[in-house]
Symmetry: C2
Subunit: 343 residues, 2 copies
C-alpha cells in the first residue's frame, strides 16, 4: 500500500480468490511490473482484502457458491475504491473444482461479470496454495494438511497429478482428522483391552470434559463435522512429546503417509528429473504442518521426502493462498506479455 | 406348531424380540417344559413370527422405537390367535440399549402394556445373539460381524464386557464396513501411486458401474449409509480368493481384529478360567462370519481364538436372534422356578 504502487492501480488490478470449505478470501493487488518475481516488493502491495463464507459448491450448492464469490470480489474492489472495469485478471482457487466440467461451470458464469478482455482462471484451491509458495509459478508440489490432506503437483508443461485427498473414509491418515481419529481409537482400544494404555486417555477426556472412555463413542458420532475431530491433533502431539508410544506411533504414521503422498506425485510427474536428484519446490500448507512444536510433523515430512528426493526444496509460504492466486494470474499475464513481445 | 405344543399356549407364551438397525423380529413361543435345554424339541415350536422396521431409538427416536416394538409384539400375538393375557415373559434384545438408563426407559414403558406378573427383560441385541447360540444361557462370548462388529461377553454371575463396536470412525476394522472401506482405499492408493496395483480396482469398478478410480471418491461420499459400503465385502473376498495380495492383507487384518476383540472380552471376564484353558462358548453371528466361501473369515477368526484359548467352543447358531431372546426369557423363568422349588 506504499505510494509507489498507487500508480499501478491505474494500470489495472488483479483479483486473487482462495475459496475453501469454511471461508473465502479475496485480495485485490495492483498490476506489478513484469519483471522477475525475485524482484517482488516485500511486503507485497495489497489494495484490499475481503472475507466471505464457504464457496465449495459441493457443500453449499452452485448458486450459493457463485453468490459468495461475486460478493467477496465486489467487496474487495469496493474497499479499494475501484470498480470492475480496472480488473485485468482474476484467479479463483476454489476447493471442489476437480474436473474440466467444474471449471466450465464457473467460467460460463464469471464471463458475464467481467469485460471480455479480462483473463480468468478457475482452478482448484491447491493451485492458490502452491502459488503462495512459488510466488505465482505453477511448478512443483504442494502438500496441504489441515482437517483433510492432499498432495498436488504441477509441471510447467501443464501436466498435473494428485495423491490422497480422498477424505476420511478412504484413508487420509496424514490429515488432522486422520491423526485425531487414530488418537480416539487408541483410547477405545486401551479401554476395552485390545490395546495398550496411553496418556491420550486422560489428556483427551479432560479436553472434552468427559468422565469415561465409554463416552468417547457418543461424543464422536454426536456431530459429523470433520473439523471438530481434527481439533484434537494438539492433544496427540503433546502426548507424543511427553513420550507416549501410541501417540508417537500415530504421528510417525502420519509423517509416512504425508511423505508418501508427495513422493507419489513427484514420481508420476518426474518433478525431480529422470535421475531423481533434480530440484523442485515442495510448498507446505495447513495446521498439521505448521504446528512448530517440539514434535514438528512438517519437519519430519520434509526429512522423509529428502531421503528419496534430495533436490526437494521445502517452502513454507509467507503469503496467504489468495495472494498466491493473484500471483498466479499475474504470472500468466507476464508469460503472455513475454510471448507477445517475442512475436 | 406341532399339535403336541398346542397345549402349551394355554400354559402361556413367551415373546422374544430382536430389534436392529434395519428390522425388528418378534417370535411367539409356547412355554416349554422346564427341563434341561439339551432336551429342547428340534425344530423349536414357534407359534408366530412378525417383522417390523427399525427399533434402535438412537436412529429413529424413542417414540418410533416404542411404536415399532408394540406393533411387532401385537402382530405376533395376533398371528398366533392370542392376546396379551397369555404372555408369561418378554425379552427385548434391542440395539442401542447400552446403559441402565436405556433399560429403564424401555421398562417404564413396557410395564404398561403387560400385566404386572409378566417377566420383562430389556437387553442389548447382543444378548439375543448370544442366547441364539447357547439356547438361552447368558454365558460366553458372542462375536457379531455384519456392517458393524462387536464382541460381547457375559458370565453367569452377571458380569459383562464388550470390545470394539465403536463404529467406523473408531477403528472397527473387522466389520463389513471396515473391510470394504479398506478395499476402496486400496483402489485409491493404487490409482494415485501410493500403493501397489490390486485386482480390487477392476472388480469394484465393475460392480459399481464406474469407469475410473477417480469416481470412487464421489461414490463413497454420495451417501452416508454404512451398509452400502459394507455390501462390497464379497468383492474383497473374491479378489483374495483369486490371489490378490492386498485383498488377502485386508482380510487377514480383519481376522486379527475380530479375534483380538473376542480375546479382550474373554480375558477381562476370565471366561477361560484362570489358566486360560477352560471351556466357554463363542457364538459367531453376522454376514462377515457366515460367508462360507473358500476364504472363510469366520473359520480363521476361530483358529485365531483357539491359539490363545484352546477351550473356546465356536457355535454358529441354528436359530435366529429373536428365538435367542425368547430362550433367554425362558431360561430366566426356569432358573426362578428352580430357585422357588428349592425354597
Amino acid at each position: 500500500m506504499g505510494s509507489e504502487f498507487d500508480c499501478c492501480s491505474s494500470e489495472g488490478v488483479i483479483l486473487g480468490v482462495d475459496g475453501g470449505a469454511t471461508s473465502t478470501v479475496c485480495v485485490c493487488m495492483p498490476l506489478l511490473p513484469f519483471s522477475d518475481h525475485r524482484h517482488f516488493p516485500d511486503p507485497l502491495p495489497i489494495l484490499a482484502r475481503a472475507v466471505a463464507g464457504c464457496s465449495n459448491y459441493n457443500s453449499v450448492g452452485e448458486n450459493a457458491a457463485r453468490e459468495t464469490l461475486e460478493q467477496v470480489m465486489a467487496e474487495a474492489l469496493s474497499k479499494a475504491g475501484l470498480n470492475h472495469s480496472v480488473v485485468r485478471a482474476v484467479c479463483l482457487g476454489i476447493s471442489g473444482v476437480n474436473h474440466p466440467t467444474d471449471q466450465e461451470m464457473f467460467l460460463n458464469w464469471i464471463r458475464h461479470i467481467f469485460p471480455g478482455h479480462v483473463k480468468i482462471h478457475v482452478e482448484n484451491d491447491a493451485v492458490a496454495a502452491l502459488a503462495s509458495g512459488t510466488m505465482g509459478k505453477l511448478h512443483g508440489c504442494v502438500l496441504i494438511a489441515g482437517t483433510g490432506c492432499i498432495a498436488y503437483g504441477f509441471r510447467d508443461d501443464g501436466r498435473e497429478a494428485r495423491a490422497a485427498g480422498a477424505g476420511p473414509v478412504l484413508g487420509d491418515w496424514g490429515s488432522g482428522y486422520g491423526i485425531a481419529a487414530q488418537g480416539l481409537t487408541a483410547i477405545v482400544r486401551a479401554h476395552d483391552g485390545r490395546g495398550p494404555e496411553t496418556m491420550l486417555t486422560n489428556c483427551v477426556l479432560e479436553t472434552l470434559h468427559l468422565s469415561s472412555p465409554d463416552e468417547i463413542i457418543g461424543w464422536t458420532y454426536a456431530d459429523s463435522s470433520w473439523a471438530r475431530i481434527a481439533a484434537l491433533v494438539p492433544e496427540v502431539v503433546s502426548c507424543a512429546e511427553a513420550g507416549d508410544q501410541i501417540a508417537n506411533d500415530i504421528l510417525n504414521n502420519a509423517v509416512q503417509e504425508l511423505g508418501m503422498s508427495v513422493k507419489a506425485v513427484v514420481q508420476r510427474l518426474q518433478l525431480a528429473g529422470e535421475d531423481g536428484n533434480g530440484s523442485f519446490p515442495v510448498v507446505m500448507v495447513g495446521g498439521v504442518l505448521e504446528a512448530n512444536k517440539i514434535w514438528d510433523i512438517g519437519k519430519e515430512v520434509i526429512n522423509s521426502i529428502l531421503k528419496t528426493y534430495p533436490g526437494a526444496s521445502p517452502i513454507r509460504p509467507k503469503v496467504e493462498p489468495a495472494i498466491g492466486a493473484a500471483l498466479f494470474a499475474w504470472n500468466s499475464l507476464m508469460k503472455e506479455a513475454k510471448a507477445n513481445g517475442r512475436r
